[in-house]
Symmetry: C2
Subunit: 439 residues, 2 copies
Amino acid sequence: MTPSPLNPRIRSQELHHHIGETVRLAGWLHQMRRLGRLNFLILRDGAGTCQVVLTDPQELAKLKGLQVESVLAVAGTVVAEPQAPGGVEVHDPHLTVLSAVSEPPPFELNKPVLKPNLDLFLDHAPIGLRHPHKRALFRLFAALLAAFREFLDGEGFVEIQTPKLVGSATEGGANVFRVDYFGRPAFLAQSPQFYKQIMVGVFERVYEVGPVFRAEPHDTIRHTNEYVSLDVEMGFIEDHHTVMALLARLMRHLLARLQEQHGAELALLGVALPVIADPIPILHFRDAQALIRQRFGEDCRGEPDLSPQHERWLGEIARTDYASDFLFVTGYPTVKRPFYTYVDPQDPTYTYGFDLLFRGCEIATGGQRVHNYAQLVAALEQRGLNPADFAYYLEAFKYGMPPHGGFAIGAERLLMQLTGVENLRETTLFPRDTSRLTP
Amino acid sequence: MTPSPLNPRIRSQELHHHIGETVRLAGWLHQMRRLGRLNFLILRDGAGTCQVVLTDPQELAKLKGLQVESVLAVAGTVVAEPQAPGGVEVHDPHLTVLSAVSEPPPFELNKPVLKPNLDLFLDHAPIGLRHPHKRALFRLFAALLAAFREFLDGEGFVEIQTPKLVGSATEGGANVFRVDYFGRPAFLAQSPQFYKQIMVGVFERVYEVGPVFRAEPHDTIRHTNEYVSLDVEMGFIEDHHTVMALLARLMRHLLARLQEQHGAELALLGVALPVIADPIPILHFRDAQALIRQRFGEDCRGEPDLSPQHERWLGEIARTDYASDFLFVTGYPTVKRPFYTYVDPQDPTYTYGFDLLFRGCEIATGGQRVHNYAQLVAALEQRGLNPADFAYYLEAFKYGMPPHGGFAIGAERLLMQLTGVENLRETTLFPRDTSRLTP
């Protein structure tokens, strides 16, 4: 048997533990600088990059005709070199070509900034995602999911995975994708809303990380048609403020984890973590509209929702008045919130529904829910919906549900606001919109 | 403001830390034993159950007409009582009814064993899942997902979330659900196979936990049409044995975590954890067929796959010959494995594809993949598939992919084999099959 070029292998970030040793590395030919006799090869692996110094013409010859992104195994000696990136480089390499690339990629992956426009990038995402900026971005995405679960596990929540194929549209609405289910119609879940509420009856506190599907026909920079929803639901709350307090602590935890464990990615992307006031300021919907009128001159009183521009203005108000990048808006009008939203007993025009705005953009929606069976049936009927169509959902309420509430965070939206990119498609691994189903 | 019956509240498993104190609890009326002046109320919350002793007629009167599953808040004094379940009970309770239930549930939730048949249970899963056995089962499910991620995070894998709406059927096959995507056809992903391979080009090591969809028209006790797939893919492998070694260590980790952290659930369900030999025995497909013939008299040589009965027999062989509940079968025939499976260079009849059998049932499928661009294009053509239909997938290979491989575990299937239940629908929260789309 020939000795393997891959075994044992170390990854680039471990190099500095092996100074003076001969090691094996493997990765992609990220960049090549030819300076005559001295040649610098940057090798990129899953962990990062490292510099390999090539002088031997026989080794150099192995790279003849190879383009960047070729896959190489490198055996060489680790040398401390203050001039090299990371303070260490590999000398006297022996190369093995694992995959030869013969054409240059459609755009450059080894420049500090990715140049192609969004469409060109997305068309070639399978290789564009290899760019160090993109890798950092989606490492942050993974970090957000991990920190989300970590926080909720610590709070006694149980993870659930609920079906995405459903027999009826979740909230009785439009904007739902139809599926041919063995000749019958089925739908793609717009949210795990009903299931997570049902599961409050089982575990009291539950969360889910999973895809949701919205057949919204309009393309905007802050919407896609499939995204990852971070869903939370908890029982035995006082009211929506119990839920908002949980969400505030969750946000603090997410930001702390990024700061502690992902400084390198944040630095590479030039991200300044947001300021999260304690407590996060809270504005009632009514007062938010009044402030918009007072500060920005637009009279939106009577409108049942906030527009993206309204949210941006409120983001400004949060920063100037409260020195906070976050702002809760509570009391969204009953007409615009789903039937299961708990209505304010003091003023039934408004609900105990809330949004969390982050830098002037909604990143989470939540609220207290109706938990009384008779009230829930009445709420359905009031909207012209047939309770029989919601039989399995209603069963949980017929047999006892506690006061409860929850929220959902759009994971890609959160990452978008956190990193300051302009389009949700930049923080979505393989985005889906009305014109894009591939890659 | 009236003082809240919920704040501050403790959960049932914390009771023994509060002996002699007055505490607030809340949960479901799990069971009521009336013995005249002495009455025992079992309260169930998200954490477990606890016993409340009722003597005051005024408090008892609050329960008049209430059925089990009513939601209650209880304020009372914690008393050590060796006779009580858990060694502690609550005396002198003050009750608040949060949700009154007026009808008994369709089957009993407070008996040690759930009695209804599977169909009746599934029809009423929203409340059936409240049974302590079911809660234990789905806590184990959550524990498996958490341990899966924990292990892979520790091995330098990056979590990804890939789209479930796709433009073409993953493996060029049938059994795919069609979606109406803004008037165009789209499909539900049968697996994240292509995306996880592409992402090996980005992060080298990736995993995903998410739903997959199989439009298989036949109902069996070990298939459903939507399930949670635990997907792993890693680059820079030697061959499929590198992948199998990772999977073996993962299985060990999962079992160790269940044992360390979920003894209570395992005990309640009467689960004996499996024996996992070190190393897990490996049989080549050819040898597996020969052994089946030799031991069980069925000559299946020439058949391109193993039937469920074959798998059961191999499970017996693994136990008798290797004292192992696990068995790897390698070298599945080329004709039955997808085009991207690495073909054995010594004998192209067979591949570097493998299955992991657990107690005589396949719980994971994996293998080494083709990483060479030209070979992959040739493999597609050989199967009569058009490489142009796989353009975005192929792009990753055109621009350099390392030797790689991976596997997928059916999460519900794993839990089924672990707990010894007979039907996959018992370990699926809300199962989907040809006849079931609700709840």
